[in-house]
């Protein structure tokens, strides 16, 4: 709908003018990739029959960037808009409420796709990590399911965040440990099986698996339907929780 497009244009302007949002969503994943590649150098790891460590980290960082652009960005920006009274104000206009949410999800998807392109290109240019052109449709499918699901989870999470100050701590305390446990920061061949099994209770591990399988040839089937299904179910749960608990009015004041 053209209304969503109208809203999305302004949400994009706001995103790119916010230095903190741009740093954490765009610059930070790139910086992480550079750090990991430099620290670990030319090691090989025992995953998917033996690959370079940089080949492992490119999909890992893209996974992180996607979650950052969707769940993290949505949770934080919606809480700020809610507490500032802007969501409530928007409901006083003729716009149907879902348009405000759709605009922000659209914004997140644009940034996620951008990060996919950016990290994939950097991975190829700097570290020779092959871009899987022949699996582009499957890759985009996994990305789409992940972006949609983590968007729903981000919107649902706002119900658990009471104030603007609490937003960053709550989001980070949830995501950062899971990145470690899911093999996004630490290569999975270094993690005890018990840790990986535990991480399997949460969607990040499954999204990473599915994305990794689509990105790295020989890792498995192009689309890991089981993993994708788990991500989708989490997203559905997020959607139901959001529908029930999302609030448009500020909690404070």
């Amino acid at each position: 709908m053209s209304l969503v497009w109208h809203q999305l244009r302004y949400d994009q302007k706001v995103f790119w003018r916010n230095p903190a949002a741009v740093f954490f969503t765009v610059a930070f994943p790139v910086v992480l990739l550079l750090i990991f590649a430099t620290v670990f150098g030319d090691q090989e790891i025992d995953v998917a029959g033996g690959i370079e460590i940089t080949t492992y980290y490119v999909p890992a960082i893209i996974t992180l960037a996607t979650i950052s652009a969707t769940m993290q960005t949505l949770a934080m920006s919606l809480v700020i808009a809610r507490e500032d009274g802007r969501l409530k104000r928007g409901r006083g206009t003729p716009m149907p409420p879902w348009v405000f949410i759709a605009g922000r999800i659209g914004n997140s998807v644009v940034v996620a796709v951008l990060m996919l392109a950016l990290v994939a290109v950097l991975g190829k240019l700097l570290y020779g990590v092959a871009i899987p052109w022949e699996r582009a449709p499957e890759l985009l499918l996994v990305l789409a399911v992940g972006a949609a699901s983590f968007s729903c989870l981000g919107i649902a999470l706002t119900a658990a965040i009471p104030s603007q100050d609490a937003a960053a701590p709550i989001v980070n305390v949830i995501l950062l440990p899971l990145y470690f446990l899911s093999g996004v920061f630490i290569p999975e061949d270094e993690l005890p099986q018990g840790v990986i099994d535990f991480a399997g209770h949460f969607p990040i591990r499954h999204f990473f698996q599915a994305f990794f399988d689509a990105y790295v040839s020989g890792a498995g089937a192009a689309v890991s339907w089981g993993d994708l299904g788990v991500v989708g179910l989490w997203g559905l749960g997020g959607l139901l929780l959001a529908a029930r608990f999302f609030r448009w009015t500020p909690r404070t004041g």
Partner: protein, 283 residues
Amino acid sequence: MAVPVISVSGLRKAYDGVEAVRGIELEVMPGEVFAFLGPNGAGKTTTVEILEGYRKRSAGEVSVLGEDPERAGRAWRERIGVVLQGGKLEPYLTVAESLSLYAGYYSAPRPVEEVIEAVGLGGKAGERAGRLSGGQQRRLDVGMALVGDPDLLFLDEPTTGFDPSARRQAWEAIAALRDIGKTVFLTTHYMDEAQRLADRVAVIAAGEVVARGTPEDLGERESRPAKITYREHGREVELETTDPVATLNELTGRALADGVELEGLEVRRPSLEDVYLELTRSP
């Protein structure tokens, strides 16, 4: 005979068994600035949010622009503008962008340049909202409510927390709204604001309207006693009288005859503030 823009009767709202609004009745006519004046906690915001369609009422009839706000749809929302209490704007959009964003929500908006001038932000079109002063941000807020060209504007406590110069700017913007034919429903706990801006006032305390009228005749100020105070031989004397001229005549006549000095002689008519404080004093 003009049809009221807002018509409320028997309005009640209870939260968890506590009645915040206890039977309110009022009417707002087209083209007037109507002030809903009362201390914090009196039920002003609850009432205005019911009128704006944000809250459901517990009882009573409400008609705003001919519709029930609880059931009104998009067409109704096109005709109202809302400025929330303490609302904060998106800091990263410029003045012009904030207005364009909102203009896109309405089917027949006013040109953005015209609204910028109307709220006195000419020359600031390219300035980011986060860099405006408090008074300028509130003007932009009013502009965003205005850009859809509504018939009726709701302003909830528009100058709370403002310094005097920002308040003056906001008052100018609000007075200008009446000049262009808008109807304004304003809530405030500032006496002088109601006095300055409103054509008519309703005073609310503890969920009920305790007085209504124009700022001049509110509480029948004219018929309330004036106070005459002075010091005689170091003693403070205070007299109440409904005929201050006659009383003063007596007083000063006697003082002159006796050669007595009446120090600090003052005659005070009850101000709207005195009336307001009296009406809203907790029982």
